[in-house]
Symmetry: C6
Subunit: 247 residues, 6 copies
């Protein structure tokens, strides 16, 4: 699961789309050029020679739908614009493009917690369906850890530390670096709180998937066969508006 794009990435995206139009002999880049180039910059080119076993493809399909389903059940809206399980040169086996809901500037504690739950959704799906876990969640784990740690050490979102910053922070206003060390004892407390925080969201994600097991299966099988689906397709199946006929 990947989200957001830096300024340098945005520049690359535009460049990539222009090159694509040139290669095809077209005068200007189309919406399709842009969409493809977004994926290229964020996740790399499609990795034609990457041949996953069927078992792996199944796991990846459930993993990606796990993310999307947990996100959708928390926001009551389409969480993504596109879900794909075509491996990319970045190493990603699947890829989920997130919908931006327009709320860029402030994130509430609940929104961050939901984001962590969504990040754990991929692994939770593997557990619910296969009763086992894989290395496929390592990037989700890293992102969830960073968010949970920031809540406690930078955003003052833990009861224990109140409005006290506990780790190195870069001053956003004046540009300088500011380092606030903390004691070994406090670090141990932070570790415990981070684990508690992530575990709680992980359990919430698993609960959501268990309660929506049928949709999880239906969507994962659909993604397994189509390999790439849109957010609209995802929502239609989720809301029983689209009947899928699996091959």
């Amino acid at each position: 699961m990947a989200s957001g794009a830096s300024g340098a990435e945005l520049a690359n995206i535009v460049n990539e789309a222009a090159l694509r139009a040139v290669r095809d002999g077209r005068a200007c880049a189309t919406q399709a050029d842009m969409e493809e180039s977004i994926e290229v910059v964020i996740a790399g080119y499609q990795k034609k020679n990457a041949i996953l076993t069927n078992k792996e493809k199944q796991i990846v399909a459930y993993h990606e739908i796990g993310h999307a389903l947990v996100a959708a059940k928390q926001t009551n809206s389409a969480p993504v614009t596109k879900i794909t399980i075509i491996p990319r040169t970045s190493g990603a086996l699947g890829y989920t493009m997130q919908v931006d809901d327009g709320n860029h500037y402030l994130m509430s504690k609940e929104e961050i917690e939901n984001k962590i739950a969504t990040l754990t959704g991929g692994r939770a799906a593997e557990e619910v369906i296969f009763g086992s876990v894989t290395t496929g969640a390592s990037n989700d784990i890293e992102q969830a850890t960073k968010l949970a740690r920031a809540m406690i050490t930078q955003y003052g979102m833990s009861e224990k530390f109140d409005m006290v910053a506990m780790e190195t922070v870069t001053n956003q206003y004046l540009g300088g670096d500011t380092s606030l060390a903390c004691s070994a004892e406090t670090q141990a407390q932070i570790d415990k709180d981070v684990v508690d925080l992530v575990k709680k969201q992980h359990e919430k994600a698993a609960q959501i998937l268990i309660e929506n097991r049928e949709k999880l299966d239906e969507l994962a099988q659909y993604l397994y066969q189509k390999e790439t689906i849109t957010g609209e397709e995802f929502m239609k199946i989720l809301n029983d508006e689209q009947k899928i006929y699996l091959e």
Copy 2:
């Protein structure tokens, strides 16, 4: 919430004001040029394309009034010259220019504690009004932490460590760097004291806002609509001297 200005910033302020006068074809910089240039240097240019959701704008309005109201109730005077919720290129969503009360050279323990309370006032307003917290207080958290930590480790304002410096300090008289390390055990004690100190002021700030809930709503709604208000407007409303008619 931002305060003070370094020497380099002061030079930039004057420069920016001169450029502004030149751009407008005027022979000399006016008071208005200076005021605008102060904001540019401290908080960056107005960010025209930053479109906050209404919910975000509400949160920012209450956050800024939270700072100002806690400050005003502690000093019995206008705490600010200007409050604005127009986003700036520095990343600040709102901005509060502080009144300097002429007391530059010495700060008492009580004055620093009040400053910490004021810093926590933004988040406290979010909690009182929305029952939730956002990432918007991260810079306030960082500043409050630094002040609280300095009280304990540099200013000898904790009972436990008496007049003992506990962390790296730069010698103000002779220019050299001086590093005074302390043990892991002492660091743990400092962390606990910092949290206690900030928590106490945070509770005080929340109490002030609860007791002045009506004014908090009135001022926040006024700021929400006007986007920028002066210290005089702020005080008139606070002292019931100005009747506001919200659109």
Copy 3:
């Protein structure tokens, strides 16, 4: 025991095979050129002047068969394509080329645990047969430690830390370095979990070898005399399809 090959190594392998063909005056590299060159790149050239004592050769033979036998009993298939006890210039005294089962992209917790058991199989064989241990397992120890540590700190495969990353990790998607430190207390817990995890697999490996003691002796003696055997020979003896007549 060695496994896998990096991109640079793959390039070297092809180069080495081409050079070998040229040296022999042949127009193109054969399968045999490739096989030899693979070993050269991974383990170095055969070390002609390395003369092990008979006792050492015995230990190495049991060590390598220990790896292979534990692997075979766990997967029910040929774990290797080739086993050799001809020392190499890399310092390796024996060498086992692994079969790739096509499952490159995801590794389940059970698969990693089996891999750790296989890594401990060499030392376990020494213990079972000679009742003593040697320095020959130091590379296996290092690899087993890294896998066990990654399970706990990166892959979220420990119950205690759930989906929380505990050590420095490089972000696979965006290329930057990311460091997530953890407290001394957490480090101590990680160390304990790593030891428990490895110890459990080590015991499993020893159990497999004790239960297959006869085959262990038969295969080790065969390897001792032949010095290099293929995966097919290994499986035939293991499945009693080949009667071996030791000289």
Copy 4:
């Protein structure tokens, strides 16, 4: 409170006095040139535009007299040649020039303890008179901490560590750097001893000021009005030899 002068500072002092004589068109530097230049080098030029509030000026006057009075009551002689509360460009709000009693080469444990008491005298005066503390003592805190730490870790003046050096020390005889680390446990003990040592002297200083409250008031009021007084004036008032008539 400031004391002593390095070799480089001494050179600057002579230079500064010569420049002063030249500026005034005199052939040689006078005693007055030297005295003024000493202050310039140690504490910077007089800061003409620094306008303290009356409250701040009162605090600084009591702070400086606090230092001088504690020193005088411990040595039974004039502790200073000059006391001033004219701010300097170094950032110092007041300044006390110490009398050198000729004992340069060795310092006894008691002399260092008295020096720490004198350093705490400024803050103690603020506490006794205003019942509050300010940031004005931060430099005193740093110096007192260094002295107390050196007593315990370098000078063998603690019962617990006997004649054992506990921290990094530069070898005075042979010029090289020598680093002697110590354990976390020992560091914690050192921190505790430093705090106990400073606290004891701080209490002694406060006791001296409480017992001489009348003289403290008299001298501080005198300094407040005169802004600069000599050591002789200080001693005459202290010994009731001079009747002061405050304006």
Copy 5:
């Protein structure tokens, strides 16, 4: 006590022998040239002007025989080719050239333990004979510590840590550096285990020397008078095949 030789040292040895032959006007380096050059490269030139007291010479003789006797009693064969107590420019006061028993490639736990016992044999001899210890064992201490530490942290030879590597290790196969940190708690356990391990071998060494006290005296006196003896002389005296007549 010194052992082994690196590649660079081997090159120096050959070079040194050639130079020696040239200096003597001979066409080729003899066995004697090689032997002398080995000592020069490993231990430095003979230090003509180093005049030890008789007491020191006695201590060194017992120290070197201590090493050799403990080694011989453990292996039942000549442990050395040469023992000398002529000081060398490397700072070594004595020097023992080890016999290589042909077992280069693997070391068993028991062999490393014996090696540690041999390293402690020098100090053990001092204790048994003089009831006192000197600084002469500092290099033996360093080597014994490294071996014991490696047994526990790299070779998986401790029950507690099983097959887990606990400290920084360089990957022997692929050349890169690998660092595996461990927690403070684990470090404390490692320190305890290292001390236990060395202490046990030290006691074994002392026991061997006490049981062979007569031979220890006889050999040490012989070495004291001859200053340099061969491995054959050592074994003949040990096996009562040579009667020595001390001067």
Copy 6:
């Protein structure tokens, strides 16, 4: 108290003596030139303008005799060739040149303990005579700490750590740097042992001085008046062979 001389210092000593002969118009350097130059290189030139108070001079005289007397009573021989209390440019207030007893190459545990006792003798004399301590012992403290620490961490002279090296050591044979870290727990134990070790010798030194109080007074008074005495004078007075008539 200073001891020994490095190679670079020896070169400087010879150079300094030659320059001295040249300045005096003599063809070759005399024994007196060498003696003076030794002191110049080790302790610096005589510091003509350093004027100690009588009290300081008394303390320094007792301090130096303290060193010499503790040394003499432990070895039963003249411990020094010269004792002086003329300050040197190195910062040393007194200076004691040690007799070298020819035992360069090995130091027994008892010899190091005696050396530590001698180092504490200066401070012990201050305590016995003045009931107070000064900063004058800081260099002795540093040297005593280093010796005690080396006994425990490098020389295997502590019962607890047996023949295990506990801190960074440079390999004397092969020239490389070797770093052996140890755990925090072990560091705490080392600190405790170092303090115990030094304290014990300090007490021994004090006991020696108390038992020889009369000689301590007599010798210190003699040194106070003469400012420089020889080892022969010291021994004659100590053995009642010389009657001193103080002025």
